[in-house]
Symmetry: D4
Subunit: 232 residues, 8 copies
Amino acid sequence: MVMSEYDATDGVAQVGDFARLDLARLARTGMAETVYCAGKTPEQAVAIFAAFARAGQAALGTRCSAAVGAAVEAAVPGARYEAVGRTLQLPGAKRPVHGQVAVCTGGTADLPVAEEAAQTAAFFGAEVVRFYDVGVAGLQRLLGQLEAIRRADVVIAVAGMEGALATVLAGLVEVPVIAVPTSVGYGAAFGGLAPLLAMLNGCAEGVSVVNIDNGFGAAAQACRMLRLRNKE
Amino acid sequence: MVMSEYDATDGVAQVGDFARLDLARLARTGMAETVYCAGKTPEQAVAIFAAFARAGQAALGTRCSAAVGAAVEAAVPGARYEAVGRTLQLPGAKRPVHGQVAVCTGGTADLPVAEEAAQTAAFFGAEVVRFYDVGVAGLQRLLGQLEAIRRADVVIAVAGMEGALATVLAGLVEVPVIAVPTSVGYGAAFGGLAPLLAMLNGCAEGVSVVNIDNGFGAAAQACRMLRLRNKE
Amino acid sequence: MVMSEYDATDGVAQVGDFARLDLARLARTGMAETVYCAGKTPEQAVAIFAAFARAGQAALGTRCSAAVGAAVEAAVPGARYEAVGRTLQLPGAKRPVHGQVAVCTGGTADLPVAEEAAQTAAFFGAEVVRFYDVGVAGLQRLLGQLEAIRRADVVIAVAGMEGALATVLAGLVEVPVIAVPTSVGYGAAFGGLAPLLAMLNGCAEGVSVVNIDNGFGAAAQACRMLRLRNKE
Amino acid sequence: MVMSEYDATDGVAQVGDFARLDLARLARTGMAETVYCAGKTPEQAVAIFAAFARAGQAALGTRCSAAVGAAVEAAVPGARYEAVGRTLQLPGAKRPVHGQVAVCTGGTADLPVAEEAAQTAAFFGAEVVRFYDVGVAGLQRLLGQLEAIRRADVVIAVAGMEGALATVLAGLVEVPVIAVPTSVGYGAAFGGLAPLLAMLNGCAEGVSVVNIDNGFGAAAQACRMLRLRNKE
Amino acid sequence: MVMSEYDATDGVAQVGDFARLDLARLARTGMAETVYCAGKTPEQAVAIFAAFARAGQAALGTRCSAAVGAAVEAAVPGARYEAVGRTLQLPGAKRPVHGQVAVCTGGTADLPVAEEAAQTAAFFGAEVVRFYDVGVAGLQRLLGQLEAIRRADVVIAVAGMEGALATVLAGLVEVPVIAVPTSVGYGAAFGGLAPLLAMLNGCAEGVSVVNIDNGFGAAAQACRMLRLRNKE
Amino acid sequence: MVMSEYDATDGVAQVGDFARLDLARLARTGMAETVYCAGKTPEQAVAIFAAFARAGQAALGTRCSAAVGAAVEAAVPGARYEAVGRTLQLPGAKRPVHGQVAVCTGGTADLPVAEEAAQTAAFFGAEVVRFYDVGVAGLQRLLGQLEAIRRADVVIAVAGMEGALATVLAGLVEVPVIAVPTSVGYGAAFGGLAPLLAMLNGCAEGVSVVNIDNGFGAAAQACRMLRLRNKE
Amino acid sequence: MVMSEYDATDGVAQVGDFARLDLARLARTGMAETVYCAGKTPEQAVAIFAAFARAGQAALGTRCSAAVGAAVEAAVPGARYEAVGRTLQLPGAKRPVHGQVAVCTGGTADLPVAEEAAQTAAFFGAEVVRFYDVGVAGLQRLLGQLEAIRRADVVIAVAGMEGALATVLAGLVEVPVIAVPTSVGYGAAFGGLAPLLAMLNGCAEGVSVVNIDNGFGAAAQACRMLRLRNKE
Amino acid sequence: MVMSEYDATDGVAQVGDFARLDLARLARTGMAETVYCAGKTPEQAVAIFAAFARAGQAALGTRCSAAVGAAVEAAVPGARYEAVGRTLQLPGAKRPVHGQVAVCTGGTADLPVAEEAAQTAAFFGAEVVRFYDVGVAGLQRLLGQLEAIRRADVVIAVAGMEGALATVLAGLVEVPVIAVPTSVGYGAAFGGLAPLLAMLNGCAEGVSVVNIDNGFGAAAQACRMLRLRNKE
């Protein structure tokens, strides 16, 4: 395979012939490039995490299979795999955030997505409090937790099926709500389309939405918000 | 236009060359055939309602324009047009129902659909109580009305946008909830698709759904339910 | 995993760190919380059913795999698994319903969904009569059963493909028809979209619809209707 | 506008700079080219029908507005416009068909599409019998006409909403059923998508489908079938 | 499982507790009920075919797996399984058709669907001629076969991807063309949606369409057409 | 019209029989209830804004037609209508925010949506800087403005068509990006579906999305973020 | 309206407060920025074209209404409006292309889109030859023109409905085919979705596709191809 | 299986009873027929490649599984399989192209599609340069390569998710850009629909699009463009 010649100024590191790591991203956006592990072989993942380790940067992998997780844990000292949220975490240089993120879910089945969000936010330094299985079909479960939820600086609402949790929460708290539709459900849920549309349509005043099952994206956006508190 | 020859036994009345009224429906299903007025000319509507009047049967028209309403009011004694819900009502023989129907809406813009439901249910004899603008974005509006809503025998939940009202209500009352998605909204509401999918996915335990904007269908189903109370 | 602190008043029982059982639901809505077993591990399911057993409440699991069913049968005395409808049934306190539910299907392939509906309705105390393989492509099969179907208080119409069974039935009986589209079919059935749309569009006068393959939801709604007969 | 040079052998006639009439189609396929009038100016339509008149060929226009119809009637002797089915008919040479076509509709609102089919079939020589407003929500209307419908050689089933008419008819007659979904309906009818999907999914044994609102296409296909009776 | 009591007049035979065979269909529509084998267990299939054998009726199974095919061949004398088209054929009483059916495909991958059509048509007595891999991307392959295709009484056009074969054929022959979209393709083919829409939109004059991959449906419709030649 | 009896505690004000204002929302969520004016009559809008004026609360109307705007300006002292962004602004008590919001658009046609966002943010006290027509088809337009954009605390990216602006911006700034897809475009833009999907899929690290054309929603979310800077 | 301060280096010209013209595009990509006129007021269009005139650059407007066209013709000397293709042409500096473009259409109704393509290509200097109404339903119309079409360097295939023209052409010529689906059609054409999908699926070997009705885009791409002939 | 009789003039070779090779395609369109290997058995693939080998023509297989690849390599001398791009290459007579093709990808996961494109272009004689992982989320990766990319005669942009790479590239280079959406992504990517729509909508001036994951189609179109340089 012939790759064009170029020099790696501007913080871009070439890994094998398949990836170009944006090592300057940390300085530029406040957050290191995250590694989307789905579809990568264990060898590719090891090479990428090893490059981050060499650069002394913290790195986070998402959608990581157990096999890839084990390979990187074995090859890259310090790397740690979390099975439920499927994240792979490498400690190192990062610009930490401060503040509390509440991660709420409609049901038990939303847990993997919620854990991806929670582990991501914690990795970047946020304090994370979990409120799981507080869906709107049984409102008192939610209302009973409300006081605690209101303490958070950002709320992440993870829900499949009808996805109403985000709207209801946004009407009850003052802080930004980030909605994560999940592919939990069947039939007319159409792989997460139903809660996605519901969340987009109920999003007046205080809700914005990320992709279906994108717990990482919600946490990353939450961290950008938390950083505002320190911005001059 | 050549129509095939046939005799009108079995309770079917031929009206002009364009409609065949199922006059036996009242006896068979407990409810006269309803007239879907959209796309009918004033002349066609007058002919149909006159036929019901001749048969002494009550008749209900839905999706009725002001022009068609005025024409029938002028030509058929007793017929009455209601503008907001766009119904046309002809008193006469019907099998009345007994019980209370609560019609709830998420917002003000859902009113035409809600009124179609309310007027239909009232036409067939139900006691109707309206709870409008009690959407879940401001939960206390809904919770403040809850005691009154719980008195109803059937709840009709009319909502556009994210359509969460039906699920939340079903978790708070014991009686059947009939969900009516509306085409209120814009963008990713896709003409009512968003609340339709939301209502179908949140419908475990006590919610069933009718077509987008189909206030009539919800009320007709509510009346069938009320009739169960008298069934032996 | 850090969960926020709270006390379990209001009838909510925390199970492990993954679920919050709404034990007050029985008193509030007349029906215990149902356990959606898809995506739950055998360990999670056992913990949840054991909690219901400790509370002395009846519990129903749906979408239950054989493995989960066997685990719960082994661990929780009294629990019973039904393979075709994939339900898991735990006897105990419940508020029973009275009346007859007719479960009709268009074809043989709709059987799992129909059995989910039938087993659910029977679990809550309804008398269930099955009319399977009476689709409209051979009308005389349906018409031959009509007298028996008319005896029911509620009719559940389960059909895939063109989904016409619900509309035809609603024109022939007086009681409410609950339509369940199924994902049976291929090509332009699009996983149940075709019968779902057909049932929503044919639903004037006496049909309301639940999610694709949601036999449980149809039965739960039927039970709410049957309870109307005892409501004051 | 520069058009490439070519000679008009092979039966193609150039009309102005916007159309190329396939005058050999009559000999090749048994049916003259039909003129789809939507989007054509009156001047373009007049030029096209005049060209057919000069060639002595019969011609049929569909989707013809009243304005275009009047213009052609005024300019081309013998041309006749039918308002309900929006067809424009020019007598002349054609290869006639023999046999009877039954045109059935689910409701009154399907009439324009049904008339397009009926006028097209009659134009080409078929005997047409109309069975309008025989939808499956009131089965006895259909069953009362069944004996007459069975006399036809081909059945065209025109229906919107749930579109079940085609499947039910195909189970009751021996001859081919051509299904025409219509855009009649609202909400989840999605402009005819619902009956289209329903008809495609119920089409085992004896149903094939044409485009939404395509009454012409159904009649043209019916005529091809009738011609089989004379084929050697 | 409790089934309602009924007697099997009207030609309906109960098989086990899962199917009701419409044995009168042969007399009523000219074609025995076909058995859709997908989703049926070998035991169910054997029971059904044995019932047809007892009644002396020919029977055709479609979408039949190799396992089901082997089971029926072993248990029901005379039954024969065809692997490519996945049909299961039981000789016996049937009303044969006369005439020739041309089965054309756009590509090699459409073969299973085409064979389902060809085997079905042959089973009911039609003479079948195959024209495979004559797609429009290489027109001369099609034009070279045109004379032979024109001899057929009905043309079945089987194609995936862009599905243009049906329109092109309909412009070249006089007889009815039945279009079968296939799920062959990838990406924006969306499981056969692309050729389905293409065939519906190109279907003026002589094309009607069946469901995606429904070779059986096309052949059954072709047989109804062939029967017209004998109709009085 | 019969409305159920209730007292207006909890900050809910009944307006006529069509709306229930949530006057306690300001205290609860930091932002007064916004009035969605589409579908409201001038009389309804006047009544609602007059109620806010009586309560001394600031109020913001969106999707306001010129006619409704003029009626409210005439009837409610202090109300002001902005035509491009279609907002209606009533000064009064509100909890102001502090910080800078950058509103960027891909093209000129996105202006009405962008102005809705800009006017909303300004109404609640944010400093707003506009960067219009900086779409990615001409990158240097965007790069030339980058330094200025980076000064903002929140970036709102408004774009139709391919919607790439949000992703590109998020890679260049540190602060949260809120993406607003617009219905600008034609053909395969499908009313804003294309940029909506693009923005959801490119939303890793720092992008969250609101409904199509929902400039208001983006600004409201931006204000919640700005408020985080003062949160303890 | 406050716009951020910036200086217009890099060839960007600010027009009013609504547009930023990329005057350096001509040098950078070989083609001046085109003006998408839909949604622009006459005043905005006049200002933009006047700016191009001042810069001495040629400019092309597309999707231009008659009103906007007249306003610009009146205000900007040399500007010329073409009604059918809705283009607005301003002569001036441009980098001309050399070679022949064949613009083919399936039917007469595709003419506005085809003319947009033809006028665009001619504006940039290509020789354009039109082959209109050569759709595949009458193959001999196309085959009769084939020799002339083969002389072109690039073929643009404009077609609605089933969109097969592009695939058929690509199998008959050696040069690149650019496919333009049009929104011509009805029913299951779904606004151009059907031909779009068809063209994407038939695009192996020599077809690439632009947006629905995007005649301009096809011609612009054709011009880039023609420029390859002069590239070193 | 009965195939119709015909003689193989016109360059069509019959292979077994399942394929008809268009050996005249090379002379007619400049490129041999490509073999779409998905769904073909090893035996069928061997037979087809052996036929090309006998004819002395070069042949290219795409979407080829490892098993099919190994079978053909073993049976047909000279055939070579490339695993990443899943191509199967048989040297032989072909009409080579001249020029350089740049293959760019948004991310690492797009590699299989990109390699299909690169291997195809190289097979037909183009010089191929790869620019992988240069997505727009980190613009400097792309800008750092821009000078090299600009040397190419044609650019192929392969991207999933938001698909913005094509638009951004087209604004930076002068040559044609061919966009290949990929099915990389999840959730609202809907199998490649999101980048497909984005690429179609951003395609003004210099972008045309092929099917999702169709690397081959992009390269084939690129080769047609390169051939223009030699056309007279």
